[in-house]
Amino acid sequence: MVSAMETAVNPSVRSAVRKYFKNIYQLFYSILEGMAVTFSYLFRRPITIQYPYKLDKPMDEIIPDRFRGILGVDLRYCIACRLCQTTCPIACIAIDLERNPETKERFITRFDIDISKCMFCGLCVEVCSTGTLHHSKIFDGTSRHVENLVLEFVNTPVRPFIKPKSIEDIPVDRSGAITRNKLKDFFDLPKFRLTDEA
Protein backbone atom coordinates (compact mmCIF):
# COMPACT_ATOMS: atom_id res chain seq x y z
CA MET A 1 0.00 0.00 0.00
CA VAL A 2 2.84 2.30 0.82
CA SER A 3 4.33 1.95 -2.59
CA ALA A 4 0.98 2.61 -4.23
CA MET A 5 0.60 5.76 -2.20
CA GLU A 6 4.07 6.83 -3.14
CA THR A 7 3.27 6.30 -6.77
CA ALA A 8 0.23 8.41 -6.39
CA VAL A 9 2.12 11.30 -4.93
CA ASN A 10 5.55 11.10 -6.53
CA PRO A 11 5.46 12.80 -9.90
CA SER A 12 8.81 11.42 -11.07
CA VAL A 13 7.62 7.85 -10.62
CA ARG A 14 4.39 8.69 -12.35
CA SER A 15 6.20 10.16 -15.33
CA ALA A 16 8.47 7.13 -15.48
CA VAL A 17 5.46 4.84 -15.64
CA ARG A 18 3.86 7.00 -18.26
CA LYS A 19 7.08 6.94 -20.28
CA TYR A 20 7.20 3.18 -20.04
CA PHE A 21 3.74 2.71 -21.47
CA LYS A 22 4.25 5.47 -24.02
CA ASN A 23 7.31 3.60 -25.26
CA ILE A 24 5.30 0.45 -25.71
CA TYR A 25 2.58 2.35 -27.51
CA GLN A 26 5.07 4.05 -29.79
CA LEU A 27 6.78 0.79 -30.58
CA PHE A 28 3.59 -0.89 -31.72
CA TYR A 29 2.33 2.20 -33.50
CA SER A 30 5.54 2.66 -35.51
CA ILE A 31 5.67 -1.01 -36.43
CA LEU A 32 2.07 -0.98 -37.59
CA GLU A 33 2.71 2.16 -39.57
CA GLY A 34 5.62 0.54 -41.33
CA MET A 35 3.53 -2.55 -42.00
CA ALA A 36 0.83 -0.35 -43.51
CA VAL A 37 3.37 1.11 -45.93
CA THR A 38 4.59 -2.34 -46.90
CA PHE A 39 1.04 -3.61 -47.23
CA SER A 40 0.08 -0.78 -49.57
CA TYR A 41 2.60 -2.11 -52.07
CA LEU A 42 0.43 -5.16 -52.59
CA PHE A 43 -1.91 -2.98 -54.58
CA ARG A 44 0.66 -1.09 -56.62
CA ARG A 45 2.05 -2.10 -59.96
CA PRO A 46 5.14 -4.32 -59.74
CA ILE A 47 8.20 -2.98 -61.50
CA THR A 48 10.00 -6.26 -62.07
CA ILE A 49 11.18 -6.81 -65.62
CA GLN A 50 10.92 -10.54 -66.11
CA TYR A 51 14.02 -10.91 -68.20
CA PRO A 52 14.29 -13.09 -70.28
CA TYR A 53 11.00 -14.94 -70.18
CA LYS A 54 8.09 -12.56 -69.90
CA LEU A 55 8.98 -9.23 -71.42
CA ASP A 56 6.27 -6.69 -72.17
CA LYS A 57 8.40 -5.23 -74.90
CA PRO A 58 11.77 -6.34 -76.32
CA MET A 59 14.92 -5.39 -74.44
CA ASP A 60 15.98 -3.13 -77.31
CA GLU A 61 13.08 -0.84 -76.50
CA ILE A 62 13.64 -0.94 -72.76
CA ILE A 63 17.28 0.02 -73.10
CA PRO A 64 17.75 3.70 -74.00
CA ASP A 65 19.40 4.70 -77.28
CA ARG A 66 22.51 6.05 -75.62
CA PHE A 67 23.23 2.83 -73.77
CA ARG A 68 26.91 1.95 -73.95
CA GLY A 69 26.74 -1.72 -74.78
CA ILE A 70 29.27 -3.99 -76.40
CA LEU A 71 31.13 -2.26 -79.22
CA GLY A 72 30.30 -2.92 -82.82
CA VAL A 73 32.19 -2.03 -85.99
CA ASP A 74 30.49 -1.46 -89.31
CA LEU A 75 33.57 -2.04 -91.43
CA ARG A 76 32.03 -0.62 -94.59
CA TYR A 77 32.59 2.86 -93.27
CA CYS A 78 35.90 2.56 -91.46
CA ILE A 79 38.38 5.12 -92.74
CA ALA A 80 41.24 3.45 -90.85
CA CYS A 81 42.30 6.59 -89.01
CA ARG A 82 43.14 4.55 -85.89
CA LEU A 83 41.91 7.33 -83.62
CA CYS A 84 39.97 4.84 -81.53
CA GLN A 85 43.06 2.74 -81.03
CA THR A 86 45.12 5.67 -79.80
CA THR A 87 42.33 7.12 -77.67
CA CYS A 88 41.56 3.94 -75.75
CA PRO A 89 43.26 4.42 -72.35
CA ILE A 90 43.67 0.68 -71.82
CA ALA A 91 44.53 -0.49 -75.35
CA CYS A 92 41.77 -2.98 -75.96
CA ILE A 93 41.42 -2.20 -79.66
CA ALA A 94 43.88 -3.58 -82.22
CA ILE A 95 43.84 -2.42 -85.84
CA ASP A 96 46.23 -3.66 -88.51
CA LEU A 97 46.65 -2.16 -91.93
CA GLU A 98 48.48 -3.81 -94.77
CA ARG A 99 49.59 -2.37 -98.06
CA ASN A 100 49.50 -4.47 -101.15
CA PRO A 101 53.04 -4.09 -102.58
CA GLU A 102 51.84 -4.27 -106.20
CA THR A 103 48.73 -2.14 -106.34
CA LYS A 104 49.72 0.10 -103.38
CA GLU A 105 46.26 -0.31 -101.99
CA ARG A 106 45.70 -0.33 -98.25
CA PHE A 107 43.61 -2.97 -96.55
CA ILE A 108 42.26 -3.29 -93.06
CA THR A 109 43.35 -6.78 -92.15
CA ARG A 110 42.46 -6.74 -88.51
CA PHE A 111 40.01 -4.94 -86.24
CA ASP A 112 39.91 -6.76 -82.92
CA ILE A 113 38.26 -5.58 -79.74
CA ASP A 114 38.92 -7.31 -76.45
CA ILE A 115 35.61 -6.86 -74.67
CA SER A 116 36.76 -8.85 -71.69
CA LYS A 117 39.00 -5.88 -70.91
CA CYS A 118 36.91 -3.05 -72.34
CA MET A 119 35.55 -0.64 -69.75
CA PHE A 120 32.71 0.70 -71.89
CA CYS A 121 33.72 4.30 -71.35
CA GLY A 122 32.73 5.50 -74.80
CA LEU A 123 35.88 7.55 -75.45
CA CYS A 124 36.64 5.62 -78.66
CA VAL A 125 33.12 6.10 -80.01
CA GLU A 126 33.34 9.82 -79.30
CA VAL A 127 36.34 10.29 -81.61
CA CYS A 128 35.04 8.13 -84.47
CA SER A 129 34.18 10.61 -87.22
CA THR A 130 32.05 8.28 -89.34
CA GLY A 131 30.22 6.46 -86.60
CA THR A 132 31.74 3.17 -87.70
CA LEU A 133 32.63 2.26 -84.16
CA HIS A 134 29.45 2.35 -82.13
CA HIS A 135 27.94 0.99 -78.98
CA SER A 136 25.34 -1.64 -79.71
CA LYS A 137 22.54 -2.35 -77.28
CA ILE A 138 23.88 -5.81 -76.59
CA PHE A 139 24.72 -6.24 -72.94
CA ASP A 140 24.91 -9.97 -72.38
CA GLY A 141 28.42 -10.91 -73.38
CA THR A 142 28.61 -14.14 -71.43
CA SER A 143 31.14 -16.75 -72.29
CA ARG A 144 32.55 -19.93 -70.90
CA HIS A 145 36.05 -19.07 -72.09
CA VAL A 146 37.57 -15.66 -71.65
CA GLU A 147 39.28 -15.98 -75.04
CA ASN A 148 35.90 -15.98 -76.75
CA LEU A 149 35.36 -12.43 -75.60
CA VAL A 150 37.83 -11.15 -78.17
CA LEU A 151 35.77 -10.03 -81.12
CA GLU A 152 37.34 -10.18 -84.58
CA PHE A 153 35.49 -7.93 -86.94
CA VAL A 154 37.49 -8.54 -90.12
CA ASN A 155 36.79 -11.72 -92.04
CA THR A 156 38.43 -10.75 -95.29
CA PRO A 157 40.62 -7.67 -95.71
CA VAL A 158 38.59 -4.54 -96.40
CA ARG A 159 39.49 -1.34 -98.21
CA PRO A 160 39.20 1.74 -96.03
CA PHE A 161 36.19 3.93 -96.67
CA ILE A 162 36.85 7.26 -98.32
CA LYS A 163 34.64 9.81 -96.66
CA PRO A 164 32.90 12.03 -99.17
CA LYS A 165 32.55 15.68 -98.20
CA SER A 166 28.84 15.97 -98.87
CA ILE A 167 27.41 13.07 -96.88
CA GLU A 168 26.29 14.12 -93.43
CA ASP A 169 24.54 11.04 -92.24
CA ILE A 170 26.39 7.81 -92.78
CA PRO A 171 23.99 4.85 -92.66
CA VAL A 172 25.88 2.80 -90.11
CA ASP A 173 24.18 -0.40 -89.04
CA ARG A 174 23.62 0.15 -85.33
CA SER A 175 21.07 -2.59 -84.87
CA GLY A 176 23.58 -4.80 -83.06
CA ALA A 177 23.42 -7.55 -85.67
CA ILE A 178 27.13 -7.16 -86.42
CA THR A 179 28.13 -7.64 -82.80
CA ARG A 180 25.65 -10.42 -82.28
CA ASN A 181 27.21 -12.35 -85.16
CA LYS A 182 30.67 -11.96 -83.75
CA LEU A 183 29.78 -13.10 -80.25
CA LYS A 184 30.43 -16.79 -80.01
CA ASP A 185 27.98 -19.26 -78.61
CA PHE A 186 28.32 -19.96 -74.92
CA PHE A 187 29.72 -23.47 -75.16
CA ASP A 188 31.93 -22.86 -78.21
CA LEU A 189 35.57 -23.72 -77.79
CA PRO A 190 37.89 -20.77 -78.27
CA LYS A 191 40.04 -20.27 -81.32
CA PHE A 192 43.16 -19.83 -79.21
CA ARG A 193 44.25 -20.26 -75.62
CA LEU A 194 45.93 -17.82 -73.28
CA THR A 195 47.45 -20.54 -71.18
CA ASP A 196 49.28 -23.52 -72.51
CA GLU A 197 47.79 -26.09 -70.18
CA ALA A 198 44.56 -26.70 -72.15
Binding site: S30, G34, V37, I63, P64, F67, P89, M119, C121, G122
Partner: protein
Protein backbone atom coordinates in the same frame (compact mmCIF):
# COMPACT_ATOMS: atom_id res chain seq x y z
CA UNK B 1 46.66 -17.12 -46.14
CA UNK B 2 46.42 -20.81 -45.52
CA UNK B 3 48.67 -21.01 -42.55
CA UNK B 4 47.09 -19.93 -39.23
CA UNK B 5 50.47 -19.09 -37.77
CA UNK B 6 51.01 -16.76 -40.67
CA UNK B 7 47.63 -15.14 -40.08
CA UNK B 8 48.50 -14.59 -36.45
CA UNK B 9 51.77 -13.05 -37.46
CA UNK B 10 50.00 -10.74 -39.89
CA UNK B 11 47.49 -9.43 -37.37
CA UNK B 12 49.86 -9.29 -34.44
CA UNK B 13 50.49 -5.59 -34.82
CA UNK B 14 46.77 -4.88 -34.72
CA UNK B 15 46.49 -6.11 -31.16
CA UNK B 16 46.71 -3.43 -28.54
CA UNK B 17 49.51 -3.83 -26.05
CA UNK B 18 47.67 -3.52 -22.76
CA UNK B 19 44.60 -5.63 -22.16
CA UNK B 20 41.96 -3.81 -20.14
CA UNK B 21 39.68 -6.79 -19.90
CA UNK B 22 40.50 -9.87 -17.95
CA UNK B 23 39.30 -12.25 -20.60
CA UNK B 24 39.47 -10.70 -23.97
CA UNK B 25 39.24 -12.23 -27.37
CA UNK B 26 39.92 -11.04 -30.87
CA UNK B 27 37.35 -11.49 -33.58
CA UNK B 28 37.94 -11.03 -37.26
CA UNK B 29 35.10 -9.11 -38.82
CA UNK B 30 35.22 -9.11 -42.61
CA UNK B 31 36.48 -8.75 -45.31
CA UNK B 32 33.72 -11.00 -46.53
CA UNK B 33 30.85 -9.91 -44.37
CA UNK B 34 27.47 -8.72 -45.64
CA UNK B 35 27.49 -5.59 -43.54
CA UNK B 36 30.97 -4.26 -44.05
CA UNK B 37 29.94 -2.22 -47.10
CA UNK B 38 32.49 -3.66 -49.42
CA UNK B 39 35.71 -5.26 -48.43
CA UNK B 40 36.75 -3.97 -45.04
CA UNK B 41 38.26 -5.91 -42.23
CA UNK B 42 38.00 -5.12 -38.54
CA UNK B 43 39.85 -6.78 -35.75
CA UNK B 44 37.41 -6.59 -32.89
CA UNK B 45 38.93 -6.87 -29.44
CA UNK B 46 36.14 -7.72 -27.07
CA UNK B 47 35.28 -9.42 -23.83
CA UNK B 48 32.34 -11.06 -25.49
CA UNK B 49 29.84 -8.25 -25.51
CA UNK B 50 31.57 -4.93 -25.02
CA UNK B 51 34.25 -3.96 -27.48
CA UNK B 52 37.54 -2.72 -26.28
CA UNK B 53 38.35 -1.56 -29.75
CA UNK B 54 37.64 -2.27 -33.37
CA UNK B 55 40.79 -1.86 -35.42
CA UNK B 56 40.15 -1.29 -39.11
CA UNK B 57 42.40 -3.12 -41.53
CA UNK B 58 41.93 -1.56 -44.92
CA UNK B 59 43.52 -1.91 -48.32
CA UNK B 60 41.57 -4.84 -49.68
CA UNK B 61 40.52 -2.68 -52.59
CA UNK B 62 43.66 -0.65 -53.08
CA UNK B 63 43.85 -0.42 -56.85
CA UNK B 64 46.60 2.13 -57.23
CA UNK B 65 44.54 4.69 -59.10
CA UNK B 66 47.02 7.41 -58.15
CA UNK B 67 49.84 5.55 -59.85
CA UNK B 68 47.70 4.81 -62.89
CA UNK B 69 47.02 8.54 -63.24
CA UNK B 70 50.70 9.07 -63.87
CA UNK B 71 50.53 6.73 -66.87
CA UNK B 72 47.28 7.99 -68.39
CA UNK B 73 46.61 11.14 -70.42
CA UNK B 74 44.32 13.73 -68.85
CA UNK B 75 41.36 12.93 -71.08
CA UNK B 76 41.80 9.19 -70.63
CA UNK B 77 41.82 9.36 -66.86
CA UNK B 78 38.17 10.35 -66.57
CA UNK B 79 36.87 6.73 -66.58
CA UNK B 80 39.20 5.92 -63.70
CA UNK B 81 37.70 8.63 -61.54
CA UNK B 82 34.35 6.86 -61.82
CA UNK B 83 35.84 3.97 -59.95
CA UNK B 84 37.15 6.04 -57.06
CA UNK B 85 33.70 6.22 -55.58
CA UNK B 86 31.32 4.09 -57.56
CA UNK B 87 28.28 5.10 -55.59
CA UNK B 88 28.80 8.75 -56.40
CA UNK B 89 30.89 8.70 -59.54
CA UNK B 90 29.79 12.12 -60.78
CA UNK B 91 31.56 13.92 -57.97
CA UNK B 92 34.87 12.32 -58.72
CA UNK B 93 34.33 13.18 -62.37
CA UNK B 94 33.64 16.75 -61.44
CA UNK B 95 36.50 17.26 -59.06
CA UNK B 96 39.02 15.89 -61.54
CA UNK B 97 37.56 17.95 -64.38
CA UNK B 98 37.64 21.04 -62.15
CA UNK B 99 41.28 20.47 -61.28
CA UNK B 100 42.37 20.13 -64.89
CA UNK B 101 40.21 23.05 -66.02
CA UNK B 102 41.73 25.19 -63.33
CA UNK B 103 45.25 24.27 -64.42
CA UNK B 104 44.65 24.60 -68.15
CA UNK B 105 42.53 27.73 -67.67
CA UNK B 106 39.52 26.40 -69.50
CA UNK B 107 36.23 28.14 -69.00
CA UNK B 108 33.27 25.83 -68.69
CA UNK B 109 30.03 26.90 -70.41
CA UNK B 110 27.17 27.80 -68.09
CA UNK B 111 24.94 25.07 -69.46
CA UNK B 112 27.56 22.46 -68.70
CA UNK B 113 27.82 23.69 -65.12
CA UNK B 114 24.07 23.38 -64.68
CA UNK B 115 24.07 19.92 -66.20
CA UNK B 116 26.84 18.97 -63.81
CA UNK B 117 24.87 20.20 -60.84
CA UNK B 118 21.76 18.30 -61.92
CA UNK B 119 23.55 14.99 -62.37
CA UNK B 120 25.59 15.48 -59.19
CA UNK B 121 22.53 16.07 -57.07
CA UNK B 122 20.76 13.08 -58.63
CA UNK B 123 23.86 11.08 -57.85
CA UNK B 124 23.86 12.36 -54.29
CA UNK B 125 20.35 11.05 -53.83
CA UNK B 126 21.31 7.71 -55.36
CA UNK B 127 24.29 7.46 -53.08
CA UNK B 128 22.28 8.30 -49.97
CA UNK B 129 19.86 5.54 -50.97
CA UNK B 130 22.57 2.99 -50.49
CA UNK B 131 23.88 4.69 -47.36
CA UNK B 132 20.57 4.84 -45.53
CA UNK B 133 19.15 1.65 -47.00
CA UNK B 134 22.19 -0.46 -46.29
CA UNK B 135 22.27 0.85 -42.73
CA UNK B 136 18.73 -0.38 -42.24
CA UNK B 137 19.59 -3.69 -43.90
CA UNK B 138 22.56 -4.21 -41.64
CA UNK B 139 20.41 -3.58 -38.60
CA UNK B 140 18.00 -6.23 -39.77
CA UNK B 141 15.33 -4.34 -41.71
CA UNK B 142 15.29 -5.71 -45.25
CA UNK B 143 12.30 -3.90 -46.73
CA UNK B 144 13.69 -0.33 -46.65
CA UNK B 145 16.75 -1.39 -48.59
CA UNK B 146 14.65 -3.07 -51.26
CA UNK B 147 12.50 0.03 -51.43
CA UNK B 148 15.52 2.26 -52.01
CA UNK B 149 16.88 -0.16 -54.60
CA UNK B 150 13.64 0.28 -56.48
CA UNK B 151 13.87 4.07 -56.32
CA UNK B 152 17.49 3.88 -57.32
CA UNK B 153 16.54 2.10 -60.52
CA UNK B 154 14.63 5.20 -61.58
CA UNK B 155 17.73 7.34 -61.14
CA UNK B 156 19.75 4.71 -62.97
CA UNK B 157 17.26 4.94 -65.83
CA UNK B 158 17.66 8.71 -65.97
CA UNK B 159 21.43 8.45 -65.96
CA UNK B 160 21.35 5.74 -68.59
CA UNK B 161 19.16 7.82 -70.85
CA UNK B 162 21.54 10.74 -70.35
CA UNK B 163 24.98 9.19 -70.66
CA UNK B 164 24.52 5.50 -71.37
CA UNK B 165 25.76 3.89 -68.19
CA UNK B 166 24.09 2.97 -64.96
CA UNK B 167 26.96 3.20 -62.55
CA UNK B 168 30.23 4.31 -64.04
CA UNK B 169 28.95 7.30 -65.93
CA UNK B 170 32.06 8.87 -67.42
CA UNK B 171 29.74 11.77 -68.20
CA UNK B 172 31.91 14.79 -67.59
CA UNK B 173 34.75 15.88 -69.76
CA UNK B 174 37.47 18.43 -69.30
CA UNK B 175 35.68 21.62 -70.29
CA UNK B 176 32.11 20.47 -69.95
CA UNK B 177 30.06 17.33 -70.31
CA UNK B 178 30.11 14.65 -72.97
CA UNK B 179 26.58 15.01 -74.30
CA UNK B 180 23.68 17.38 -73.91
CA UNK B 181 20.60 15.99 -72.31
CA UNK B 182 17.93 14.58 -74.59
CA UNK B 183 14.79 16.70 -74.98
CA UNK B 184 12.53 14.58 -72.84
CA UNK B 185 14.90 14.22 -69.95
CA UNK B 186 13.83 17.31 -67.90
CA UNK B 187 10.27 15.97 -67.92
CA UNK B 188 11.52 12.59 -66.88
CA UNK B 189 13.52 14.06 -63.99
CA UNK B 190 10.59 16.20 -62.86
CA UNK B 191 8.29 13.19 -62.99
CA UNK B 192 10.77 11.28 -60.88
CA UNK B 193 10.98 14.11 -58.34
CA UNK B 194 7.19 14.36 -58.13
CA UNK B 195 7.07 10.67 -57.49
CA UNK B 196 10.03 10.62 -55.16
CA UNK B 197 9.33 13.45 -52.72
CA UNK B 198 6.27 11.73 -51.17
CA UNK B 199 8.31 8.54 -51.00
CA UNK B 200 10.67 10.18 -48.50
CA UNK B 201 7.78 10.68 -46.10
CA UNK B 202 6.67 7.17 -46.74
CA UNK B 203 10.18 5.95 -46.03
CA UNK B 204 10.23 7.88 -42.76
CA UNK B 205 7.00 6.17 -41.78
CA UNK B 206 8.45 2.85 -42.80
CA UNK B 207 11.73 2.94 -40.94
CA UNK B 208 13.04 6.31 -39.71
CA UNK B 209 10.32 6.62 -37.08
CA UNK B 210 10.38 2.96 -36.25
CA UNK B 211 11.04 2.72 -32.54
CA UNK B 212 13.30 -0.34 -32.79
CA UNK B 213 15.38 1.31 -35.46
CA UNK B 214 15.65 4.51 -33.43
CA UNK B 215 16.67 2.59 -30.33
CA UNK B 216 19.42 0.84 -32.28
CA UNK B 217 20.85 4.17 -33.46
CA UNK B 218 20.07 6.90 -30.94
CA UNK B 219 22.86 7.63 -28.44
CA UNK B 220 25.06 5.05 -30.16
CA UNK B 221 28.60 5.92 -31.24
CA UNK B 222 28.40 9.58 -30.37
CA UNK B 223 31.05 11.66 -32.10
CA UNK B 224 31.59 14.99 -30.42
CA UNK B 225 32.23 18.10 -32.55
CA UNK B 226 35.79 18.29 -31.23
CA UNK B 227 36.50 14.72 -32.24
CA UNK B 228 34.87 15.27 -35.58
CA UNK B 229 37.23 18.15 -36.37
CA UNK B 230 40.23 16.38 -34.93
CA UNK B 231 39.67 13.28 -37.00
CA UNK B 232 38.93 15.29 -40.09
CA UNK B 233 35.40 14.08 -40.64
CA UNK B 234 33.74 15.68 -43.64
CA UNK B 235 30.35 15.96 -45.23
CA UNK B 236 27.22 14.54 -43.62
CA UNK B 237 29.24 12.92 -40.83
CA UNK B 238 30.68 16.28 -39.81
CA UNK B 239 27.38 18.09 -40.15
CA UNK B 240 25.68 15.46 -37.99
CA UNK B 241 28.02 16.58 -35.20
CA UNK B 242 26.63 20.06 -35.55
CA UNK B 243 29.35 21.72 -37.59
CA UNK B 244 27.84 23.39 -40.61
CA UNK B 245 30.55 23.12 -43.22
CA UNK B 246 29.26 22.40 -46.67
CA UNK B 247 31.65 23.23 -49.49
CA UNK B 248 28.71 24.02 -51.74
CA UNK B 249 28.06 26.97 -49.44
CA UNK B 250 31.55 27.70 -48.12
CA UNK B 251 33.41 27.60 -51.42
CA UNK B 252 30.45 28.20 -53.68
CA UNK B 253 32.08 26.30 -56.53
CA UNK B 254 30.38 25.66 -59.86
CA UNK B 255 26.96 27.39 -59.95
CA UNK B 256 25.85 26.46 -56.46
CA UNK B 257 25.56 30.11 -55.31
CA UNK B 258 22.64 30.44 -57.74
CA UNK B 259 20.49 28.05 -55.78
CA UNK B 260 18.52 28.42 -52.64
CA UNK B 261 18.98 25.44 -50.34
CA UNK B 262 19.63 24.63 -46.74
CA UNK B 263 22.33 22.58 -45.15
CA UNK B 264 20.76 20.14 -42.70
CA UNK B 265 22.62 19.86 -39.41
CA UNK B 266 22.47 17.25 -36.72
CA UNK B 267 20.76 18.49 -33.57
CA UNK B 268 20.21 15.34 -31.59
CA UNK B 269 17.00 14.32 -33.32
CA UNK B 270 16.29 11.40 -31.01
CA UNK B 271 19.33 11.27 -28.75
CA UNK B 272 22.66 13.00 -28.26
CA UNK B 273 24.20 15.34 -30.80
CA UNK B 274 26.35 13.44 -33.26
CA UNK B 275 25.01 9.97 -32.67
CA UNK B 276 24.36 7.41 -35.36
CA UNK B 277 20.76 8.48 -35.76
CA UNK B 278 21.83 12.07 -36.47
CA UNK B 279 24.15 10.87 -39.19
CA UNK B 280 21.34 8.85 -40.68
CA UNK B 281 18.80 11.65 -40.45
CA UNK B 282 21.10 14.27 -41.97
CA UNK B 283 21.31 12.15 -45.09
CA UNK B 284 17.55 11.76 -45.33
CA UNK B 285 17.12 15.52 -44.99
CA UNK B 286 19.81 16.15 -47.59
CA UNK B 287 17.82 14.22 -50.16
CA UNK B 288 15.00 16.75 -49.89
CA UNK B 289 17.46 19.60 -50.36
CA UNK B 290 18.95 17.88 -53.42
CA UNK B 291 15.46 17.67 -54.89
CA UNK B 292 15.08 21.40 -54.35
CA UNK B 293 18.36 22.11 -56.11
CA UNK B 294 17.46 19.92 -59.08
CA UNK B 295 14.12 21.64 -59.50
CA UNK B 296 15.75 25.09 -59.46
CA UNK B 297 18.48 23.99 -61.83
CA UNK B 298 16.00 22.58 -64.32
CA UNK B 299 14.13 25.87 -64.21
CA UNK B 300 17.15 28.10 -64.59
CA UNK B 301 19.20 26.05 -67.04
CA UNK B 302 20.43 28.27 -69.87
CA UNK B 303 20.88 27.25 -73.49
CA UNK B 304 24.09 27.28 -75.44
CA UNK B 305 27.18 25.16 -75.58
CA UNK B 306 27.67 22.21 -73.30
CA UNK B 307 31.35 21.66 -73.94
CA UNK B 308 34.22 24.07 -74.32
CA UNK B 309 36.72 23.63 -77.07
CA UNK B 310 39.56 21.61 -75.64
CA UNK B 311 42.48 20.17 -77.56
CA UNK B 312 42.32 16.40 -77.93
CA UNK B 313 45.85 15.97 -76.67
CA UNK B 314 45.79 18.34 -73.77
CA UNK B 315 49.12 19.48 -72.36
CA UNK B 316 49.28 21.43 -69.14
CA UNK B 317 52.13 23.67 -68.07
CA UNK B 318 53.97 23.18 -64.82
CA UNK B 319 51.61 24.12 -62.04
CA UNK B 320 49.66 22.61 -59.18
CA UNK B 321 46.17 22.85 -57.81
CA UNK B 322 44.01 21.41 -55.05
CA UNK B 323 40.38 21.41 -56.03
CA UNK B 324 37.56 20.22 -53.83
CA UNK B 325 33.91 19.40 -54.13
CA UNK B 326 31.26 18.39 -51.67
CA UNK B 327 30.67 14.78 -52.59
CA UNK B 328 27.95 12.57 -51.16
CA UNK B 329 30.51 11.42 -48.62
CA UNK B 330 31.87 14.87 -47.93
CA UNK B 331 34.86 16.76 -49.14
CA UNK B 332 36.57 15.12 -52.06
CA UNK B 333 39.79 16.72 -53.17
CA UNK B 334 42.17 16.25 -56.03
CA UNK B 335 45.72 17.48 -55.65
CA UNK B 336 47.12 17.65 -59.15
CA UNK B 337 50.67 18.49 -60.17
CA UNK B 338 51.34 18.96 -63.87
CA UNK B 339 54.75 19.05 -65.48
CA UNK B 340 54.09 20.22 -69.03
CA UNK B 341 53.38 16.80 -70.52
CA UNK B 342 50.03 15.32 -71.42
CA UNK B 343 49.73 13.35 -68.22
CA UNK B 344 49.76 14.33 -64.54
CA UNK B 345 53.03 14.26 -62.64
CA UNK B 346 51.23 13.35 -59.46
CA UNK B 347 47.61 13.04 -58.60
CA UNK B 348 46.38 12.56 -55.09
CA UNK B 349 42.76 11.94 -54.31
CA UNK B 350 41.54 12.91 -50.88
CA UNK B 351 38.30 11.23 -49.94
CA UNK B 352 35.83 11.47 -47.12
CA UNK B 353 35.62 7.78 -46.35
CA UNK B 354 39.33 7.51 -45.59
CA UNK B 355 39.11 9.93 -42.71
CA UNK B 356 35.76 8.51 -41.63
CA UNK B 357 37.36 5.09 -41.29
CA UNK B 358 40.12 6.42 -39.10
CA UNK B 359 37.64 7.45 -36.44
CA UNK B 360 36.29 3.91 -36.06
CA UNK B 361 39.22 3.05 -33.82
CA UNK B 362 38.26 5.80 -31.39
CA UNK B 363 34.48 5.77 -31.72
CA UNK B 364 34.14 2.03 -31.28
CA UNK B 365 35.65 1.99 -27.80
CA UNK B 366 33.12 0.73 -25.29
CA UNK B 367 30.43 -0.07 -27.83
CA UNK B 368 28.56 -3.33 -28.02
CA UNK B 369 29.65 -5.63 -30.81
CA UNK B 370 26.31 -5.25 -32.55
CA UNK B 371 26.68 -1.47 -32.47
CA UNK B 372 29.81 -1.63 -34.59
CA UNK B 373 27.57 -2.26 -37.58
CA UNK B 374 25.51 0.79 -36.72
CA UNK B 375 28.70 2.82 -36.49
CA UNK B 376 30.14 1.70 -39.82
CA UNK B 377 26.80 1.94 -41.55
CA UNK B 378 26.09 5.40 -40.27
CA UNK B 379 29.55 6.64 -41.29
CA UNK B 380 28.73 5.49 -44.84
CA UNK B 381 32.17 4.30 -45.82
CA UNK B 382 32.70 2.86 -49.26
CA UNK B 383 35.66 0.56 -49.69
CA UNK B 384 37.19 1.94 -52.92
CA UNK B 385 37.03 5.45 -51.54
CA UNK B 386 38.95 4.35 -48.48
CA UNK B 387 41.56 2.47 -50.47
CA UNK B 388 41.50 4.10 -53.93
Amino acid sequence: MKNPAKVNEAIRHLKPQAAPFEEEMSLNFGPQHPSTHGVLNFLVVTDGEVMHQALPNIGYLHRGIEKLAEMTPYSGFMPYTDRVDYLAAMFANQVFAMAVESLAEIEVPKRAEYLRVIVCELNRIASHFIATGALALDLGAVTPFVQWLREREFINDIMEALCGARLTYNYMRIGGVSVDMPGDLPDKILRFLDHFEPIIDEYNRLISNNEIFVKRLADVAVISPIDAVNFGLVGPNLRASGIGIDLRKTLGYSVYPDFDFEVPLGKGFRGALGDAYDRYMVRILEMTQSCRIIRQALEKIPGGEYRANVKKKLKVEENEVYSRVESARGEMGVYLISDGTDRPYRLKIKTGSFTAMSIVEKASQGLMVADLIALIGSLDVVAPEVDR
